[in-house]
Subunit: 257 residues, 4 copies
C-alpha cells in the first residue's frame, strides 16, 4: 500500500474570514477578499477543499492511501519528521502563502526527498519553498487566468503516461507559459498548449538523491482539472512511479574510507 | 569565415516536368503533379529555390559563406568526400525524395558529423536518411498543412536563441505535432505552438561525437518562414554554434593501448 | 514471463576450424587461429558457449525465460521478424564478426527496439551494427586486454542497480576506457575503473522510441564476469527494466490529422 | 575582459592561531590544530593562499582579470551585491567552515547565478551552502586523503576541454569517489580515476536559469594540482565558458500577460 500525504495551503477555500486569522499581517481587506472569492473555489471542489478532491482522486486506486493531510495553518506539526517518515509520496498544492511556510518545513521536505521520498508539486506550487530548494532555479514563468489547455504527451513510453490519451483537453485552465525557469528535466513527459498560443513544459521529472520530483502544471483552484479522468490517471501513475520505500535512507553523509 | 554547404532536394521548385526525369520510377502523373504545384513554391522563394533563400539568409552575415550547394539530382558528386571535408556546417532541406538519396551519401554525412561537422536538418528533413542514422529513432510525428506557428524559446541563455524574441510568430506554417519520436535532446531550445492546438519540440540540439545536430521545425516549401528576421537569426546563430573546424577529426578508431 | 532472446556471435568458442567455414573470405590461417584459442574461451564458459552462460544467468529468475538463441551462422533466420516479435528483450554479444551480420538484420533489430523491444549490448558489442544504428555515434573507445575492473554505481536508486553492491570487483576484465564515443546517456548507472588507471561509462541506458537500450561493459570472452553474482543481478535487473510488452507497436508512422 | 572573483575560505593557510579568532566557538584546541598544519598548506601555495594561487592561474590569460578576492572573515562585505554585480564568474574554494558562511551570502550567490553569473565550485566546495542551494542534492560522496588522480575527458568536444590532454595525471590528490549525490549533469566532461580504485564525476556543468555552474574535483589544500598546466587550462576554459555578461538579468519574476 502506497502511503501518500497531501499538503494543501487551504486558504482560498475558506468563506469565513475569521478562520484566516493565522495569516498574520495580511490585513483585513486582503483576507476578506480571499474569503469573498472562496465560493468559486468551493464550486470546483464540492468536497470542501483541494486536498479533499486530491484524496478522492488518489483513493480511486486500491494500492494508494492518503495517510496524512497537512494544511498551512498547522504545517509545522502536520509535516513533522514523523509524518514525512510515514510518507512515500507527498503532494503539494499551494498558491498565495508560500512565504508563510516555515523554512524548516521546506528543508525537511527537501531532506526527505533526497533520502527517497517522492514529491509532486502541483500547479502554483512552482513558487513554493521546497520546490525552489530541490531544483535550484527561480521557477518563474509567464501566466494568465482564464485559458484552456491541451496536454500533449511527448514521452508515451513513460510510466506516468500509461493509459493516458495522447492529448488531454482541459476546458478551463490557467495559462502557464515559457520561459519556465527550471533545470533541464530528467524526463519531460507532457507539454501544455494554451488557447492563447502559449506553450509550457507541463509535466517534468527530476531525480534528487534517492527520491524523485514531479511537477505537474494543471490545477488552478477554480477549475475542475482534477476531476478529469486522464488527469487523475496521471496523478495516480505519478504516485506509483515516485513511491520507493525500499530506497529510503535515514541520512546522507560523506563517507571516509 | 564559416564554410556552410546547403543540400536542397530541389524537386518541388521545378515547373518543367521534363527536368524531373531523374526521379526514375515515380510515374508521369506524379511528376506532372509536382511540376504543376511548383508555382506556389516559387512564389515563396522568388530567388528560384529553397537553397537560394537559405543562402541569402546565411550570407546576411559577414562571417558565413555558402561554399557549396548540392541538390538531389547530383547529390553523389555534390556531397562528395571533398565537399564535406570543405564544410563546417551542412544545412539539409528535403521532403518528397528522401529515399532517392543514396545510402552511401547518408552514411558519409553521418561520418562527417561524428568527426566534427555540424548539420542542421530543416523542417521535413526529419525523415531523411542522415537524420535517422544520427539519431537512431523513427522521427515520426503528427502533421497538417495550413496552420500557423508560435515559436517559444525555452532556453533563453542558449547561443542559438541570442537576439531572438521570446515568441516568434509565423503567419503560415505547417503543423508538426507531438509525439515526435526523437531521442531526448541534449539541448531543447524552442517549442512550437500551432493554431490547431498542437505543440512540438521545434528546436533541438544533439551532440554526436565531435559534431552537433540541430533540428529546426519551420520551413514548409510554400511558406515564407525563412524570410522572418528571427528565423534567419536562428539559422545564423545555429551555423555559428555548430561550426567547430578545430575539432574536426580525420577518422575515429578504437585505440589499443 | 519475460521473453528473452540471446544473440551470440558463437565464433570464438569453436575448436573445430571446419565449423567456421561460413566465415567466407577470412582465410584459413585466421580461422585456425580462432579455433586454436577456443579452449581458453571454453574454460570460461563450461556450458560450451557464451549464450549458454547468459541463458543460465537469466534463468536463475523464475520470471525470465530465454525463448530463442541466435548465432551468426544462421542469424538471418534466427533473428527473423517472428523471433523478434516474440522477444521482449534481446541480449547481443559479438566481437570479431560484426561486419558479417547482414544490414537487414541490424535494421530489423533497430526497428523492433524503436517499436518497444529492449536490447542489451554486451561488452564488445559496442561496435556492432544495430548499436551503431540505434545510437548514431562511432562507439569507439580505448582498450587493452588483461586488466581488472571495479564497477562503481553512480545511480544507486536506478532499478538496474537494485541489490547490487556499491562496488563490484571483477578479478579479470578487459579494459575499455574513455573517450567512449556515445550519445549522452539518458541514464548513467555504472562507471568502470581499471587497474591500469582508465575509467569508462560501463552501464548506460538510452531511450529510443518505445524501447530502451542498455550497454554494459563487462564480458570479455575468456573471463568469468558473467558468473559474478552482482553481474548476474545487473543482467537480470536490466532484462526486467527493459521489458515492456504493453508498449510494443506494430509500426511507427507519421500521422496526418 | 572577463571579471572573475575568487572566494577562498582562507582558514587553513593561517599559521597564527590568533588570526582565526573570528571562528567563534570552535575552541582553542581546534584552532591551534589548524594553525599548526598551515605550514603544509603554505608549502603547496607559496604565494601565501589558495586564492593567490588561483589568481595567478587565471591571470595567465590576458582576457581574464580577478577583480575581487573574498575570504570567510569578511565574506558579508566582500561578496556584497555590488561585488557580485561586478563579477562574471565566481570561483569558490571552501572546506572546514561552510557553516560559517551566512545564509544570506549563499542565497545572494544563488540569485546571481540564476540571473546569469557563472560559478565554479572547487574540490571540497561540494558541501558549501551555495552549491547545495543551486543543485538541490546532498552532494555527499566517499573520500580519502593521500591518493593520486587521473582525470579522463569524456567530452573532448566540450569548450572546457579545449587543449587539455585526454588524461591528466595528478601525482597527489585527495580521493573523492562515487556515489556522488548530484543531479544528472547537463554536461559531464571529466571522470576522475584514483589509485585506490575509485572513480568520480570530476568535472560537471549544470545550467541554472541564465547562469551556469561548474564543479571541478581537484584541489586539496596541501597538493599542487592548481599548478598543473592542464588544470590551469581547465580553470581558464571554464571561466570563459561560464562568462556571459550579455545574459545578466536584474531580476527574475513571474510575468502576468
Amino acid at each position: 500500500m502506497i502511503r501518500a500525504t497531501i499538503y494543501n495551503e487551504y486558504v482560498q477555500e475558506r468563506t469565513d474570514a475569521a478562520s484566516l486569522d493565522f495569516l498574520q499581517g495580511w490585513g483585513e481587506e486582503a483576507i476578506r477578499g480571499i474569503a469573498g472569492r472562496a465560493g468559486e473555489v468551493l464550486r470546483a471542489h464540492p468536497a470542501g477543499a483541494i486536498h479533499a478532491t486530491l484524496k478522492q482522486a488518489l483513493e480511486e486506486c486500491d494500492d494508494i492511501r492518503v495517510r496524512h493531510i497537512a494544511t498551512l495553518e498547522h504545517v509545522e506539526q502536520e509535516l513533522s519528521e514523523e509524518v514525512l517518515a510515514d510518507t512515500d509520496v507527498l503532494l503539494w498544492w499551494g498558491h498565495l502563502a508560500h512565504e508563510q511556510v516555515p523554512d524548516a518545513v521546506a528543508m525537511r521536505v527537501r531532506d526527505h526527498v533526497q533520502r527517497g521520498m517522492g514529491v509532486i508539486f502541483l500547479h502554483s506550487a512552482h513558487m513554493c519553498k521546497p520546490m525552489g530548494l530541490l531544483l535550484g532555479t527561480s521557477c518563474t514563468l509567464r501566466w494568465r487566468e482564464g485559458d484552456q489547455e491541451r496536454l500533449w504527451c511527448c514521452a508515451p513510453a513513460h510510466p506516468i503516461a500509461r493509459g493516458v490519451a495522447p492529448c488531454v483537453f482541459l476546458e478551463e485552465e490557467e495559462m502557464y507559459g515559457e520561459f519556465f525557469d527550471i533545470p533541464t528535466p530528467d524526463e519531460l513527459i507532457f507539454l501544455g498548449a494554451f488557447r492563447g498560443g502559449e506553450v509550457f513544459r507541463s509535466g517534468c521529472v527530476w531525480n534528487r538523491g534517492y527520491g524523485k520530483v514531479f511537477y505537474f502544471q494543471p490545477g488552478h483552484e477554480t477549475y475542475r482539472s482534477y476531476f478529469h479522468p486522464d488527469v487523475r490517471r496521471i496523478l495516480q501513475n505519478a504516485v506509483r512511479y515516485l513511491s520507493h520505500p525500499e530506497l529510503r535512507r535515514d541520512r546522507l553523509e560523506c563517507l571516509a574510507v
